[in-house]
């Protein structure tokens, strides 16, 4: 048993990968919670997918992936802003058209037979190939994100609780959403090496969405989301090691499975309550209702 647990850790690649994933779990537990509470999950997915052509071009040109990803993000943002100006076109439609187009271009470039092998990894990432530089970048993004969110916590609560009324408390929603968007772009850049353009969202949104189902306060929700992300990362790595499946995809699958299980349990409990369940299953605070 101990052998079973220890033998993956004898590989330096696995240890590095776990380090990277645990850093990303911090982002999932902090930034991810605000992304979910502010309803920015769709934006998160759009950012991650829209930057793919930039990543591919960076890999082809031999410049750092983060630089390419940043370029890709800027192009995607500009394109979305431009298409958003087309009259009578819903902004959501504009975003999905642009993002799908960019993803298509990126996949085309990445999977073309003439491009060198390994570019496919940009779609799904290669967590076993993270470098010291990647770990440093992710660590820096983690620290910056945690600091920024701690400073802005009160304002984010006000904005999330009542976005339209936040202005009367001197906390306009626009500025806070802009900060979240910048942090999200940084987190996406940091996570793309490990998880690729398609799986980044699973890590940033999945654990927080699962925690949302069970937690009734923001603080516990952050801890729960971080723990789900960390446990899913470790479980995914072991799954990948023994089942010989892709590391990033295994982690994403465990995260998705956790969400499905908690959602099922949540629905079952809610159904039991609606049927007049009392005692343990009675909703908290029900006796307070007038």
């Amino acid at each position: 048993m101990i052998d079973w647990l220890v033998s993956p850790l004898e590989s330096e690649f696995v240890v590095r990968a776990l380090g990277e994933l645990l850093l990303l779990a911090v982002l999932a537990g902090t930034l991810g919670v605000w992304i979910v509470l502010r309803g920015m999950s769709y934006g998160a997915e759009s950012l991650a997918h829209g930057m793919l052509p930039g990543l591919v071009l960076a890999a082809l040109a031999g410049i750092p992936l983060a630089a390419g990803g940043l370029g890709g993000l800027v192009v995607a943002a500009l394109a979305i802003a431009l298409v958003g100006r087309v009259p009578r076109l819903d902004p959501d439609v504009a975003v999905s058209v642009i993002v799908t187009s960019l993803l298509g271009v990126g996949v085309l470039l990445a999977l073309s037979p003439r491009t060198p092998a390994g570019l496919g990894a940009l779609l799904f990432g290669d967590v076993l190939a993270v470098t010291d530089g990647d770990l440093l970048l992710t660590g820096a993004v983690c620290a910056a994100t945690a600091a920024a969110l701690a400073l802005l916590h009160g304002g984010l609560l006000v904005v999330g609780f009542d976005p339209l009324g936040a202005g009367a408390l001197g906390r306009g929603a626009g500025r806070y959403d802009a900060v979240l968007a910048v942090l999200l772009a940084l987190a996406t850049l940091a996570a793309v090496q490990a998880l690729g353009s398609l799986l980044v969202v699973a890590m940033l949104v999945g654990p927080a969405a699962t925690a949302r189902l069970t937690c009734r306060r923001v603080g516990p929700m952050m801890i729960t989301a971080g723990l789900i992300a960390a446990v899913s990362s470790v479980a995914g790595m072991y799954l990948s090691y023994y089942a010989e499946t892709g590391a990033g995809a295994s982690v994403a699958c465990v995260i998705a499975a956790a969400y499905a299980v908690v959602l099922g349990a949540r629905s079952a409990i809610d159904t039991a309550r609606r049927r007049g369940g009392r005692g343990l299953l009675a909703p908290r605070g029900s006796e307070a209702r007038a």
Partner: protein
């Protein structure tokens, strides 16, 4: 119901001016005509003012000017005792948002701190005291969404108290409340006025306007300001509501407003129609 005049005579606080608005007007960015103009009124500590008007008549615009969210485009506004705390309608906030009643009350402290400062222990203590002040000491740990509509409204009043505001602006605080909750809230507002705060209350309800110390009638411009007896003339009421006054059962009645679409599903606790001057 508490008689406003009786409490006014018993007051022990110093009577000071809380708001002094002169020829105030405001225009939203991009709009050519002002949303509200010619607003001239003065509120002293201890006064309860009903702000009467139809939807789009400028009640919310006035509140946004008073909280500093919207700048005035004309006229002067003096707030000698600081900004005004807004008490919004409870159905505007997200009931599924993971916060407790205490968390919501504490947001009042966030409002008066700079963006990088977190509420201190003294702020938490003030938030607890404010919850106790509105009669919800036992609900500090309850999720906001689990409270009744009246309790939520009182938590938002507690939040305004934590903001340390001398003047409270309430946006239709009685809409959707059942009678016991409405009476609790009415008592609370009378108490707050009696301790020297000013209370502005946006309403469609003529009966509530009759119960206030002062009435401010708005329909894109100020139509009247004064005691209910002087301000609520038939002409002013008709100009406030436009053509919405119809005769019912031989007496005048104002049709209930179809507000935000949501109120249509919630029956008015006071009987369905806001009857002008029924109690007089």
């Amino acid at each position: 119901m508490i008689d406003a005049r009786a409490t006014a005579e018993q007051r022990t606080y110093e009577r000071t001016v809380l708001v002094d608005a002169d020829a105030l007007a405001a225009t939203y960015p991009g709009a050519r005509v002002p949303a509200l103009s010619s607003v001239t009124f003065r509120v002293h500590s201890g006064e309860r003012v009903a702000v009467l008007g139809p939807n789009g008549g400028g009640k919310s615009t006035l509140f946004r000017i008073l909280t500093g969210e919207l700048g005035s485009s004309y006229g002067t506004l003096e707030l000698p005792r600081g900004r005004v705390a807004l008490v919004p309608q409870t159905d505007r906030s997200r009931l599924d948002f993971p916060v407790s009643a205490l968390d919501v009350a504490l947001m009042g402290a966030v409002a008066r701190l700079p963006w990088y400062r977190r509420p201190a222990r003294s702020d938490r203590e003030l938030a607890r005291l404010s919850l106790a002040r509105v009669g919800l000491a036992g609900e500090a740990g309850t999720s906001f969404g689990d409270l009744s509509g009246g309790q939520r409204q009182r938590v938002l009043v507690a939040r305004a108290l934590v903001q340390d505001a001398r003047l409270l602006a309430l946006d239709e605080p009685f809409s959707g409340l059942d009678t016991p909750s409405a009476e609790l809230l009415e008592e609370l507002l009378a108490d707050l006025a009696a301790e020297g705060r000013g209370v502005l209350m946006a309403t469609h309800d003529l009966e509530q306007a009759w119960a206030a110390d002062l009435v401010l009638c708005l329909n894109r411009v100020q139509l009247a300001f004064g005691t209910p007896a002087t301000a609520l003339t038939r002409e002013v009421i008709e100009r406030t509501y436009g053509s919405a006054i119809v005769p019912i059962d031989g007496s005048r009645a104002v049709l209930p407003p179809h507000h935000h679409g949501a109120d249509q599903s919630e029956p008015n606790p006071r009987g369905g129609f806001y009857r002008g001057g029924r109690a007089r």
